[in-house]
Symmetry: C2
Subunit: 236 residues, 2 copies
Amino acid sequence: MSPYELFYWPGIQGRGELIRLALEDAGAPYVDVARERGTGPMLALMRGAGPGLAPFGPPFLRSGSLVLAQTAAILAWLAPRHGLVPAAERARLHAHQLQLTIADFYVEVHDTHHPLGSALYYEEQKPEALRRAEIFRRDRLPLFLGYFEKALERNGGRFAIGRRSSYVDLSLFQVMVGLEYAFPVATRRLARRVRRLQALKERVAARPRVAAYLASERRLPFNPHGIFRAYPELDG
Amino acid sequence: MSPYELFYWPGIQGRGELIRLALEDAGAPYVDVARERGTGPMLALMRGAGPGLAPFGPPFLRSGSLVLAQTAAILAWLAPRHGLVPAAERARLHAHQLQLTIADFYVEVHDTHHPLGSALYYEEQKPEALRRAEIFRRDRLPLFLGYFEKALERNGGRFAIGRRSSYVDLSLFQVMVGLEYAFPVATRRLARRVRRLQALKERVAARPRVAAYLASERRLPFNPHGIFRAYPELDG
């Protein structure tokens, strides 16, 4: 099989990281196109250089003649090809539902530092960010983490979906390490209420291919350009 | 077949309307549960009264023992059962990708009046809303509508996906009528650049089952509680 081509911004983890983690855990060969060849081919595909529907934005994945965008849609397509989700239809539907809820949470995390949108720099919307981040820490963070914790609990405690690790677990790992980077204080305060998520994070980090990936240069560090940003003033 | 049960807030179109339009256009029998029986059963399912994964929030659909949440996931599941999407895998993938981009746009429309989140009333975040709406009208609205218009154009001009009407067309109709309600001035200004979207909107409105639905009491009116809100100050 020729390698997948992943198109994503080269300097950040962002939403692309949820795809990278799935590809890495599956041991699937892939090229991180913008990191190896610059953003030119990616931007060309967004402008419509390929056939059929153009992506609105990255991440998107190319496999043969298929170009597929939207993180959760990519994962739903990729996962059954690599054993990253149970085969049963209901499990796949619920994995996708949960992944889309993670996507909703990503928007809210992003909007803590960009409540007015990405057209302005953080510094141009800092008072608004302070207000939004306060609400995030007080309401939204406990609500979403509580929901994910409950989903784990109701499924036996160890896996988000089914009886073994799936791509949703990999994304929940990324959520947890991202939050610990961006909101260390607020996240620590919730630690006792999300013990299953914490344990899941440790187990995912110890998966051999994930551990090798995290130790490699392929894993970009968190930085002040991604979705999870360490602005101490937004952590209360 | 016993009717689908749709769970959504009873007083607004919101995201639930994208499901209602699909069910109506398909002529599929359904119960709009919260409108007929109140929100109790819906809130109970969100709290985990059912088996398996609980929805984070509405809309969700129950069919037999399946409870499925997330608007785009519901549509992707529902559409092939009712001929609302081509059978070919690639068309279904791209329909879903496009629907998820519509979902992203919905968040941005919502955030024009709630840039700090739903925990505060509009009146408590009005200065922020004015700033965000300005950026929305200037950047985001033309960007998204231009993208949808281009997607239509590249697919022959009449349908978003494939060679006949699909659930994505129904959602694009809802986007257009919602924008005309919430941002009449800004939307009119773009009219010449989105002629295919305008024509699509007219064609969808004329589909017999859609027309019958829109004329019925089942179609809730737009109002100041939904995603599309007519606040003239946000329309510039």
